[in-house]
Amino acid sequence: MTRQTLSRRSFLKSTARTAPASVLVLTLPMVLAACREAQQARLDGADFQVLSQEEAAEFDAISARIVPSDDTAGAREAGVIYFIDTVMREGRDREMQALRDGLREFQTQIALSFGAPYFHELNEAEQDTMLGQIEATPFFATVRMLTIAGLLSLPEYGGNRDFIGYQLIGYDSRAAWSAPYGFYDADYMERGE
């Protein structure tokens, strides 16, 4: 895996058309303030702050196909939609607008294929077909990034509820570890190499 093709930088570059300067630029104090409210919103089951109910249903449905719920929990259980609602808060108008434009365009495509515009009302097979058609777009790349970020960021941002994302990949968020860390170094110690 090369740094050049797979680095964060090139990821951002691939979505640069969605948000010209950069995707999702935030300042920490603003985000932390938003996080506190997001945590509260989780507890209250409150309304979304940025997303409309329709947008929330759509982005939730898209993220649920990117990381589906199958034999293990997925994006939906991890609360990815709350993460998106959190990080797209105040100051994110331009990026949010790009996402909204992308969604509207996507819904137009859906309407052409299925007669009705709502992604979340399609069945899973139909959803996957539609996503397959937009896989290479900055819109999809941005929703994918937000989905994965929401799955695997700190829960204080609204996603990764109960560390569902960390559990999925086998990451244990401890403050400290001691050797051996895995199979091969344990084996190395045992053999006295």
Partner: protein
């Protein structure tokens, strides 16, 4: 710790202004202040400390909380050649804006340069199209200072079979080996190579009042939450402040270095945290701003006396930028490797430090074991769908992601870059920052030998992966040339000839007697991809020589 809160009025002359508090600036400040000089350190960023750091990928990796780019008011542009118009990029020359600079979030790989690095041009001969040169100093000149870094900053390791001679053992034993490096070590052995403990600027046990590493895994890209990483922030700045002679001014962005009628530095102009222009009067200045910002500041400091920029009669300020090359192979293993725990790497293969000249190109480097996303979960999630032939979303993506995070390891090559004048830092004619300072414009295209070296190392890392028993091996290197890096080397190079270099063998500007530069910009060659140890050793040496010169009244 109790900080002596000394404060110097800007209108009063201090002995030294140090620009930048990173790998070199922290050391220079501590050494000059400890010798009794009055020192003002100007740092752009905030004074974050251990308690401020968190395992927060969203903040650090994706929102550049430490490494400000264009969107945080630090615009940079990039072009491959001098014939192109440079484009605005989020980050090109990456570095951290905080006390301690990039030494706070670096990987802490602390290979010393070897004797050959200082005289390779005369051993190998000139290389057309490059300014490949010997250093004006030798390994022996720097060895005592490498040892001071080992002991005073804090390095863990074990003397390896081909390591350069050292006057004193490492203060801390090597870090416990990781599974990824067991795989590297076993594969290396099968190939007749030797993997040995990687020297790191991370404490394996308590040293100098700081604790040993707790192997949390959020290391490269993150600030250490317990001060076990030997950053300037953790190891040097507290001592500089405790001397009672050093004032650390944070949030201060330097605009110009001013000179008097005699051509000597007399004040450093900067914007304070409120954006108000200030000027600190000083008897001398030491620029430790890094290999992009130091040349930028010199170019910004042009005047009628220094029309091409301060200390730039040679025209070499900003030239000869070197990034170091890299390659990486990753593969999957049957059992959990868990390379996401602990520090980035614990073993290094140095058998290929100097490649055979008969290959037809110049190069060399080292190989170490890593986790391909530096152990960071979110970054891995974003990258893992990018493995060739695997979907980037859906059930199969999710299954792969779940399995691979703990079962993956990478072997990375770190390689040479040749100095080329057309690789450089200049002032961008079209973009400025919030203070009206011209943006950094980076022009860079890897030399053909550097690309050949990366390609050669990729073959070796792929072989090592295969030998280690990995499946689904994938690798690459920046074959179209790098478009940015965090190693910023060579842009105010040392040398004896004032026509070919910017600073002399003591890191004093050839053109300005009371101006010194020491950071990545000083390096004549870039080593094998781990420059900070050498930058820190040079900083100790420069400070030592400045203190000696000051005693003789020769600043």
């Amino acid at each position: 710790m109790a900080q002596a809160a000394i404060s110097y009025p800007t209108r009063d002359e201090v002995d030294f202004v140090v620009v930048g508090s990173g790998a070199s600036g922290g050391i220079v400040a501590r050494e000059l202040a400890a010798a009794g000089h009055s020192v003002v350190v100007l740092e752009q960023g905030p004074h974050l400390q251990a308690a401020d750091f968190r395992h927060d990928e969203w903040a650090y990796d994706f929102n550049n909380e430490l490494t400000w780019g264009t969107s945080k008011g630090n615009p940079q542009t990039f072009r491959k050649t001098e014939n192109d118009v440079a484009e605005l990029r989020e980050t090109v020359c990456g570095y951290a804006h905080n006390v301690g600079g990039s030494s706070v979030h670096f990987s802490g790989n602390f290979w010393r340069f070897r004797p050959i690095d200082f005289m390779e041009a005369s051993v190998r001969g000139r290389i057309p199209g490059t300014t490949f040169s010997d250093w004006p100093i030798r390994y022996e000149d720097l060895e005592p200072y490498y040892t001071r870094v080992d002991w005073e900053v804090g390095v863990s390791g074990l003397q390896g079979p081909w390591d350069p001679p050292r006057s004193r053992e490492y203060p801390c034993p090597p870090m416990p080996v990781k599974g990824s490096d067991v795989l590297l070590e076993r594969a290396a052995k099968q190939m007749g190579l030797t993997a040995y403990p990687a020297p790191v600027a991370i404490l394996s046990q308590p040293h100098n009042g700081r604790p040993g590493c707790i192997h949390c895994g959020f290391c490269n890209g993150y600030g250490c939450e317990v001060d076990a990483k030997s950053s300037s922030m953790a190891a040097m700045i507290p001592q500089a402040l405790a001397s009672g002679n050093c004032e650390l001014r944070t949030g201060c962005t330097v605009a110009r270095v001013e000179t008097d009628d005699g051509g000597r530095v007399n004040e450093v102009v900067y914007f304070d945290g409120d954006g108000v222009e200030q000027a600190q009067r000083t008897r001398a200045a030491v620029l430790c701003a890094n290999g992009a910002e130091t040349p930028r500041l010199l170019l910004l400091s042009e005047s009628s006396r220094f029309p091409d920029g301060l200390a730039n009669s040679s025209g070499k300020v900003g030239k000869n930028l070197m990034f170091n090359g890299s390659c990486s192979s990753s593969g999957l293993f049957e059992e959990p490797v868990n390379a996401w725990k602990s520090i980035p790497t614990t073993r290094v293969v140095h058998d290929y430090y100097e490649l055979d000249p008969n290959l037809g190109f110049y190069g060399g480097g080292g190989i170490d074991g890593r986790h391909p996303s530096r152990g960071a979960p979110m970054l891995f999630g974003l990258l893992s769908g990018a493995r060739t032939g695997t979907p980037s979303w859906g059930s199969e993506y999710k299954r792969n992601l779940a399995y691979q995070f703990s079962h993956i390891a990478s072997f990375d090559g770190h390689t040479t870059s040749l100095p080329v004048e057309s690789n450089n830092i200049t002032l961008d004619p079209n973009y400025t920052d919030d203070f009206g300072r011209a943006a950094i414009r980076c022009t860079y295209m890897d030399h053909v030998d550097d690309l050949a070296t990366m390609a050669w190392f990729l073959e070796r890392t792929n072989e090592l992966m295969e030998m280690a028993g990995a499946t689904n091996i994938q690798g690459g290197y920046p074959e179209n040339g790098q478009e940015g890096n965090v190693h910023l080397l060579g842009t105010c190079r040392m040398g004896d000839d004032p026509n070919e270099s910017v600073v002399d063998a003591t890191n004093r500007a050839h053109d300005v007697p009371n101006l010194f530069m020491v950071d990545g910009s000083s390096l004549v060659t870039g080593g094998r991809g781990q420059p900070t140890m050498t930058i820190m050793a040079l900083a100790f040496r420069t400070a030592d020589l400045i203190n000696q010169a000051a005693q003789r009244n020769e600043i």
